[in-house]
């Protein structure tokens, strides 16, 4: 019963959040909706018995990525940025217009088609079976990470280091910036 409630709440949060991310015109609100969606996904993970991944989802997305996004929005002029840059060129609406949404919709439909095709073939061979118990995954994940997946683990650590240093260097203000 718990998980059912959790599933529905999370699913609704996820879907509504995702749709609103696409639909809203205010990028700041979009960030908050993204947060909602992420929280929902985290809940979904819990219903799938993935406690560790859910917690990591919380830490990384809620604590990290969303705040990063919000910061980026602020540092790039915010949602109410002027519509005209220093070269005097007037830009199109930043958050999309009818034309772009049409293209987006078409591509979305294409993707939907692909997915339907894939999933239908999947469900041809899939038979639901007895679901396993919810078991703690932390230890198993830890063991798997340093045995079977140790190479990927190490590479991802190098990747993170690279991303850290790269981001810091790229974003560092320079003295002789272009005026």
């Amino acid at each position: 019963m718990f998980d059912l409630i959790l599933f529905f709440t999370s699913a609704i949060l996820t879907v509504i959040g995702a749709i609103l991310v696409v639909a809203t015109k205010d990028i700041m609100h979009a960030c908050v909706y993204l947060l909602v969606s992420f929280l929902g996904v985290s809940g979904l993970y819990l219903t799938l018995g993935a406690d560790f991944v859910a917690a990591i989802q919380l830490v990384v997305y809620v604590g990290g990525v969303v705040i990063l996004m919000v910061f980026a929005v602020m540092l790039t002029g915010g949602p109410h940025a002027q519509k005209q840059n220093k070269f005097g060129i007037v830009k199109t609406a930043l958050m999309g217009n009818m034309r772009t949404y049409t293209v987006g919709g078409l591509i979305g439909a294409l993707v939907l088609l692909m997915m339907v095709k894939l999933y239908l073939s999947l469900f041809k061979i899939y038979t639901p079976k007895e679901l396993p118990e919810y078991l703690p995954t932390v230890e198993r994940i830890g063991k798997a990470l340093i045995t079977d997946h140790v190479l990927a683990f190490e590479i991802s650590s190098v990747l993170l280091l690279g991303a850290l240093i790269g981001a810091a260097i790229i974003a560092r203000p320079r003295k002789n910036r272009i005026n």
Binding site: V103, I107, L110, V111, L113, M114, K117, L118, S121, I125
Partner: protein, 732 residues
């Protein structure tokens, strides 16, 4: 008696603890430190006195001894090094003497050094020294003995050099340490011999006196040779070299007069009463070894030469402390002479009595020196020619000094007579028996006794009587008033210069008895020569473990234990007694003769010292220059031989070996490498290949035009391609 470690060890630990605590409090609380040191040593005295009284007042049998050992460290089962406590009658007596005299000297030092700015550090050095000396007295083995012995040497070094602002104490302390060091290394070698012999006999090396005696009794030294010398002789010689160094005997006596550079209480404690006597104590401890090594004749000669030579040098000294220093050497010579002629207990008795009166003499001289303050040089005056007539100014000091001089001169009823007379008596016996061998030592001994009486009273007369020769100095000297820490030690020591404390009769030898008091020669009863009978008591020896209560029963004192015949037959004993009596009469005569001569020369002035000096100026110069020993050692041996040799060695080391043989390789190498480099330059470098670079260029700007830079366009392409692939793909 229940002597546990807890009641014995504090004898050493108390002064040592005072040293440790004092070294932290010395800077902040100098007065407190001084008092603490005195209290600690008084505590040691009380503990020693308890043991001593148990030995004297019928508690223990004459064979009784306390022995406790503990393991210091081991190197596996085959090598165990024990330290421990060994108290027999002799050490009990030494303990009480050291702590008692030491306490009085410390008390005096609070007066003498009280004004000094390094008073507290002086006191803690003295305290460490006392701990060392008490440790020597308590040690059950030669290694412990040696360690405390060296600690004393270190303290002596520090205290002689106590006035380190001046140059002379530096030289004196260096000299003292180095001279005794020569004796000490021989001592160390003696230790090695003992260890080795005990290992051979017992299978387990040991330094303990008990084991040494057992080994000697078991004949462990018999037939062993080392470098062509019998091993026992060699070992005994090594230990006796320790004595020679520490007790300033004949070839190594040069350091003791210089040691007077230290403060006067130091001279009293270390260089008169205790440390120098420790050398004699060592000889007494290893006496059986000297005996089986046939070294006693040698010892006798050394003692006699020292006694006489030092006495002659004392004749010409003008410094009050120098007189006392030479007198100390001379008296130590007497002790060694006593050892040599086999009068074991008289030697030890002289050690004790000498400690008391010589300490008193030194303290008195300190009292004199401290009162005489030269306003021109801002220093204290030690020169006797500037004194005179001081008896009026300082009556107590004068009294103490005169009494002690009487004691040292061998006047009847005083302790010096009792002990010295016995030594001279035995020397006389030996001399008469075997004049070819012992004649000279006997003669020198009596002559030294004569000179002793003379120079002591020369000192007394020059200092206290006659007209004041330096009027200004005399006037500035305050009249002495009785003070607790200045005069009390002197008077207490004076009391103990009386002979009956030591002999039971007024003169010793039972010549003049107290009416109604039986002839209780406790000293002779307690101190036994370690002959076979004595050594036999160790045969049933079992090791006493550390911390256990001693389980030996109390035994009443056997009344007639003392055997005045020394185990001789009746006729021989009578003969010996007769000679002793005549010797005693002779020495009384000699003492008075010496005093009378001094009186004639310095009070009556009927003999003019100046005439003697000018007549025998060659002799006078020799004596003034200490028989040229210092000249020989320092100017010839050290400066001419050792310094030249070491400079030569160092020159060979750096100038020849290093510069030519070691650095020479560098030259060889240089030459060789020069030619290889030439070869390299001409052959290889000029024919080397240079031009293999600069041939490859990179591809350029091919795919540029494909790129529009619009991301979403790329996305569209991606998705469309992907979809076209996926949607046409036949998925199972």
């Amino acid at each position: 008696m229940d002597y546990t470690v807890a009641s014995i060890a504090p004898i050493v630990l108390l002064p040592f603890l005072a040293f440790v605590i004092g070294s932290f409090t010395a800077k902040k609380f100098p007065k407190f430190t001084g008092i603490m040191v005195c209290v600690a040593i008084f505590g040691s005295f009380l503990l020693s006195a308890r043991i001593f009284s148990d030995f004297v007042f019928n508690k223990f049998s004459a064979d009784y001894y306390i022995h406790k050992t503990f393991l210091w460290f081991d190197l596996g089962p085959a090598f165990k090094l024990n330290l421990g406590i060994y108290i027999d009658q002799m050490s009990a007596m030494l303990l009480v003497m050291v702590s008692g005299v030491g306490f009085l000297i410390h008390l005096f030092a609070t007066y003498y050094m009280g004004e000094d700015k390094r008073y507290a550090s002086y006191m803690i050095y003295m305290s460490l020294f006392t701990a060392g000396m008490l440790g020597v007295a308590l040690s059950d083995n030669l290694l412990g003995f040696f360690m405390f012995w060296e600690v004393m040497g270190f303290c002596s070094y520090s205290l002689i050099g106590f006035y380190f602002e001046r140059e002379a104490p530096g030289d004196a302390s260096l000299k003292a340490f180095m001279t005794t060091r020569i004796g000490d290394v021989f001592f160390l070698f003696g230790l090695l011999i003992v260890w080795n012999v005990t290992t051979q006999v017992n299978g387990q090396g040991s330094f303990a006196f008990v084991d040494l005696y057992n080994v000697i009794a078991a004949g462990g030294f018999d037939g062993q040779m080392l470098l062509g010398i019998p091993l026992a002789t060699f070992a005994g010689l090594c230990f006796f070299m320790g004595t020679i160094g520490k007790s300033a005997q004949f070839p190594l006596q040069v350091w003791l007069p210089d040691a007077m550079q230290g403060p006067t209480p130091t001279s009293a404690l270390i260089h008169a009463a205790t440390m120098v006597a420790a050398g004699v104590y060592l000889s007494l401890r290893v006496y059986p070894l000297l005996e089986i090594g046939h070294l006693l004749t040698f010892v006798t000669y050394i003692g006699a030469i020292t006694a006489f030579g030092a006495a002659t040098m004392a004749l010409v000294q003008t410094d009050i402390k120098a007189v006392l220093a030479y007198s100390t050497i001379s008296q130590l010579g007497f002790m060694v002479l006593g050892v040599g002629v086999g009068n074991y207990n008289a030697a030890f008795m002289h050690l004790i009595t000498h400690a008391v009166f010589k300490a008193c003499l030194f303290l008195s001289s300190g009292s004199v020196i401290h009162s005489l303050h030269d306003h021109h040089t801002h220093g204290h005056v030690q020169e006797m020619p500037r004194m005179g007539g001081l008896a009026k100014k300082m009556p107590y000091t004068c009294f103490a000094m005169v009494v002690c001089s009487l004691a040292i001169s061998g006047v009847p009823f005083f302790s010096g007579f009792v002990s010295k007379d016995r030594i001279l008596g035995d020397a006389l016996i030996h001399g008469l028996e075997n004049p070819m061998v012992y004649g000279l030592p006997m003669f020198l001994g009596f002559l030294a006794a004569l000179l002793t009486a003379f120079y002591m009273f020369r000192m007394i007369f020059l200092t206290f009587y006659g007209e004041p020769r330096d009027k200004e100095l005399y006037d500035h000297c305050h009249t002495e008033t009785f003070s607790f820490n200045r005069n009390l030690p002197l008077l207490i020591l004076t009391v103990f210069t009386l002979g009956f404390w030591y002999s039971g009769s007024l003169t010793g030898q039972g010549l003049v008895k107290f009416p109604g008091v039986e002839n209780k020669e406790w000293f002779q009863t307690l101190i036994e020569k370690p002959d076979d009978k004595h050594l036999a008591k160790f045969e049933t020896y079992t090791s006493q473990t550390w911390g256990k209560v001693d389980i030996k029963p109390e035994v009443t004192f056997p009344k007639s234990h003392y055997d005045p015949t020394h185990g001789l037959s009746e006729a021989d004993a009578h003969h010996a007694h007769t000679i002793h009596v005549s010797g005693a009469i002779g020495s009384i005569f000699i003492a008075f003769l010496g005093i009378f001569l001094a009186y004639l020369m310095y009070i009556r002035k009927s003999l003019n010292p100046g005439w003697w000096v000018s007549t025998f100026s060659g002799w006078y110069q020799t004596l003034k220059n200490k028989y040229y020993f210092d000249h020989f050692y320092i100017d010839i041996l050290i400066k001419k031989v050792l310094f030249k040799f070491q400079d030569f060695v160092a020159w060979v080391d750096m100038g020849i070996w290093d510069r030519i043989f070691i650095d020479g390789w560098a030259k060889v190498n240089d030459t060789f490498s020069y030619w290889t480099r030439k070869f390299d330059d001409i052959v290889i470098d000029t024919i080397a290949v240079d031009g293999t670079g600069a041939s490859v260029r990179f591809f350029n700007l091919v795919l540029r035009t494909f790129q529009s830079g619009k991301i979403q366009f790329y996305f569209v392409v991606i998705f469309v391609v992907l979809a076209s692939y996926l949607l046409t793909l036949k998925v199972v």
